[in-house]
């Protein structure tokens, strides 16, 4: 789907809001809160495929992009080259982080750029008169930027101090009718999920969303048993991207290790798992991996693909 950049607004030096509209003037397919789109970002000699949560719901697509300090290229391009009128290819919205229908209260926890899906949640929760509570954590330096996009109201709180949000106290006192949603950097998500599990939250009530897990690492080569080719994975690209760049068509959806769509069976090699999908037992078995975020610890990997 080709869209046109309708507006670019700088929220801070490192955070931009980008508004997209259909290039042919048609109405974009409606997306529910929690949905994300994948942008095909043109780069020198390659295309970056980055997933961004929609911060709007309905048929207006708005994303918020933070310039990653060690950007592999995608966020830097959006910051330096994305201009009004520019055309860009995106995927249809997919939603791996929807609002749970059966919840009577919604507890939203976010940190940093993990704020984005909840910006789409809040107007819908308010319109449906649902009970909710949102705690957003960020660095002091980012507080003005996040405050500028944060919705007004008592339900939403911004935490800037290092320890100003006490996860244990917050998670411990929630009633049985509450669902938990977590979005943010991996350390924040791991801490929130570990604390909720410790306090007895059932897995069915913990909803998580993470993007940007593909940070690169040591290069390795992957032998594809079925396709009968060998692909080199560079230090700056993910295994999934390397397979795509080699002209293959591996499965993928969230590109953040959350959805499980890109799972491929592993025949040989030691794995470096970075996903949130596989269970501990599945990781130990070493028989499958998420190509979007996970890598190899050995110089060579053999996949049944």
């Amino acid at each position: 789907m080709i869209v046109r950049i309708a507006n670019v607004l700088a929220i801070s030096e490192t955070i931009k809001r980008i508004v997209l509209e259909a290039a042919d003037g048609s109405v974009l397919p409606a997306a529910a809160p929690g949905a994300h789109i994948m942008l095909n970002i043109p780069g020198p000699g390659r295309v970056w495929k980055n997933a961004y949560s929609l911060v709007s719901s309905g048929s207006a697509y708005e994303i918020i992009v933070r310039r990653v300090v060690h950007s592999r290229g995608g966020s830097a391009w959006l910051h330096d080259h994305a201009e009004i009128g520019e055309k860009i290819e995106i995927s249809l919205p997919a939603n791996l982080f929807p609002i749970a229908r059966t919840a009577q209260k919604h507890l939203l926890l976010s940190a940093g750029i993990g704020i984005t899906p909840f910006l789409a949640y809040v107007p819908v929760l308010r319109a449906q008169e649902k009970k909710f509570e949102w705690h957003h954590c960020c660095k002091l330096v980012d507080a003005p930027a996040f405050a500028a996009v944060f919705p007004p109201g008592r339900e939403a709180r911004l935490h800037t101090g290092r320890n100003s949000l006490n996860l244990e106290t917050l998670l411990e006192r929630q009633k049985l009718n509450t669902h938990l949603y977590v979005c943010g950097p991996a350390e924040f998500m791991d801490a929130a999920v570990a604390m909720s599990k410790k306090l007895g939250w059932p897995g069915a009530k913990i909803h998580t969303e993470s993007f940007g897990g593909a940070t690169g690492g040591a290069p390795f080569s992957v032998k594809l048993a079925k396709s009968n080719v060998t692909v080199d994975v560079g230090p700056e690209e993910s295994l999934l991207e390397a397979l795509e760049n080699a002209g293959l068509n591996p499965p993928s959806l969230c590109r953040g290790g959350a959805c499980g769509e890109c799972e491929l069976p592993v025949l040989a090699g030691t794995l470096d798992h970075h996903d949130h999908f596989l269970s501990e037992a599945q990781r130990q078995s070493g028989t499958s991996m998420m190509t979007c975020v996970s890598r190899a610890k050995t110089p060579e990997l053999v996949l049944d693909f």
Partner: protein, 178 residues
């Protein structure tokens, strides 16, 4: 075996929970642990022997009413276990679901009588304590065949007139849900 018939797990305390409550409609439950226990009618001697006293309720309705207000106050980490007959399990389940409990927080273990609650699909009357395969509806008097079709929402099996094709032709009822 009908697909709508629930499959139950053996009783087991979920170690991930911070607080546990067992509710039962059995007078002599064998699935007993050293956790808070609510019973109906009788204080079973078997339970007292465990060294703690269960709370007794006059009726299932009374227990369910107290359970509703209890669940509204409980924080997350709570686990509810229902042990007993099928209608009781699903009444407890429905109260718990309405209070916001979900999978991983409610555990149902079928024990005791196989008696069924039968919903008359003609007059909507609930017929309790049905042990035979054919029951005369207390509402409309129709002779209902007790189907294996279970409704979780109604916590009941569906009953349909057994002599709909040939009125008056009613097979001999047999006790098959003792």
């Amino acid at each position: 075996m009908s697909k709508s018939r629930p499959v139950y797990q053996p009783f087991r305390i979920d170690p991930a929970g911070r607080a546990h409550l067992l509710v039962t409609d059995l007078s002599h439950p064998t699935e007993v642990e050293n956790i808070e226990t609510w019973v109906v009618h009788v204080v079973a001697p078997g339970i007292q022997a465990q060294g703690y006293s269960p709370r007794a309720f006059r009726s299932v309705a009374d227990l369910l009413l107290t359970l509703t207000s209890r669940l509204a106050r409980e924080p997350v980490g709570f686990r509810l276990y229902a042990v007993g007959t099928e209608p009781f399990l699903w009444d407890v389940n429905n109260v718990a679901r309405a209070a916001g409990l979900g999978n991983g927080e409610i555990f149902l273990t079928h024990a005791g009588s196989l008696k069924r609650r039968v919903y008359c699909s003609h007059c909507k009357t609930m017929n309790e304590d049905v042990t035979e395969n054919i029951v005369k509806c207390r509402g409309c008097g129709a002779n209902l065949f007790v189907r294996d079709h279970f409704s979780r929402r109604l916590a009941a099996y569906m009953g349909v007139a057994v002599d709909a094709e040939v009125p008056g032709e009613i097979p001999q009822a047999e006790v098959i849900y003792p």
